[in-house]
Symmetry: C2
Subunit: 229 residues, 2 copies
């Protein structure tokens, strides 16, 4: 739809993520960090890359952040906080199907819109310190919980079939998260369009999971699985 030249006016949307607690230079460092970490990875990114991207000298980074890892943490923290905010702001309407569809739609649209920061948030977690990692895991649990309650509510009122809730939630979230691996701004789908489409897919997944014949005697299914679930 958009013609050539129009991409340049699109500012890096990652800048929307930085809270008011950061000054001008700190925000520029964070934005530069997102780009560097997303394309090259944390370890392959040098502090000189980040500071050059922000237009300051290498030493200036340590005025605003205690370490390179701290820059990564602030990025990952801001992204996880914002995506949690988005799913929590979805109004719990009467129809469970509408609610789940809207929930998935917003979650997916967020990951499409912030796919660059999302890539950093998903793939560079191993570079975080143990303490910082724990903070992020906590936020992830809270996000997952929103989806769990959406499925449980639908099943409670009979709108959804009985499903292996953990597996279905994991699959739906997995589908949304994986966007950050392949989504491109110049692709065919806008974040909103993709969100709507995936909202329908999620409903189809719930129905298919309910229709599925379970293995005989598999009464304990749905237990804990992944470390970062």
């Amino acid at each position: 739809m958009n013609k050539r030249g129009q991409l340049s006016f699109v500012a890096d949307v990652s800048t929307d993520l930085w809270g008011s607690g950061f000054g001008e230079v700190a925000r520029r460092l964070l934005t530069a960090g997102v780009g560097c970490f997303a394309t090259a990875g944390f370890m392959a990114t040098t502090t000189r890359d980040i500071t050059a991207g922000a237009g300051v000298s290498p030493a200036a980074l340590y005025v605003h952040f205690p370490s390179k890892e701290a820059v990564l943490f602030e990025i990952v923290l801001a992204a996880h906080r914002d995506s949690l905010r988005v799913v929590r702001e979805v109004e719990v309407c009467g129809d469970p199907a509408d609610y789940l569809r809207t929930l998935v739609s917003h979650f997916v649209a967020w990951h499409a819109r912030y796919h660059v920061a999302g890539r950093v948030s998903q793939y560079e977690l191993s570079a975080l310190s143990a303490e910082h990692f724990d903070v992020i895991v906590g936020l992830r649990h809270r996000t997952i919980e929103v989806f769990h309650q959406a499925i449980a509510r639908g099943r409670g009122v009979g709108a959804f079939p009985v499903v292996d809730e953990h597996r279905v939630v994991r699959a739906i979230v997995s589908l949304g998260v994986d966007l950050v691996r392949w989504y491109r701004d110049d692709g065919a789908d806008s974040p909103a369009e993709l969100g709507e489409f995936y909202g329908e897919l999620a409903l189809g997944m719930v129905q298919a999971a309910g229709a599925r014949a379970r293995p005989p005697g598999d009464l304990l299914a749905g237990g804990a699985q992944a470390a970062n679930e």
Copy 2:
């Protein structure tokens, strides 16, 4: 489930991936490389890590491979070749639904079984040289094509609704690939179980994509939109 010390008896299944073209030491280096790259990433992995894991001196790596990048390439190449082989070996049976379900099931089970090598294959591509990267992209296209034909065949005989084929294929493959991000060997689901479950989910996704309510006035929905994507 497993207590300490018991993990060591679980042979790394990545060793199944190395072809007969590699000697004993080269295979050990590749296997060690998989573990290192998966946990720390390519850039954070040192040649000392890899050689120590293989039980040889740092210099021995360069007898068997020209560079650290070459070790990564052989790993990624072997993984992509093997997953392509698996989906191609699925027999094209009469029922399109059975075929798609089996296809997804095997694709997913492969990524669960080889999730460690799969993680390297999916997340360390940026560390490859341009030439090596192109080789991998070619293999990925061939894998995607198998799924496209499965959907197209089902639609051709009326077993599947008219869907936005690119979007559906991308979502199904995305779901399978993202396993490598969270799957754990000590989790609740075996590769085969997860494959079966995801096979059902894929069918539900195809149905949901077909049943999806189009925006009002969008009378050209379906074929026309998908055709030129």
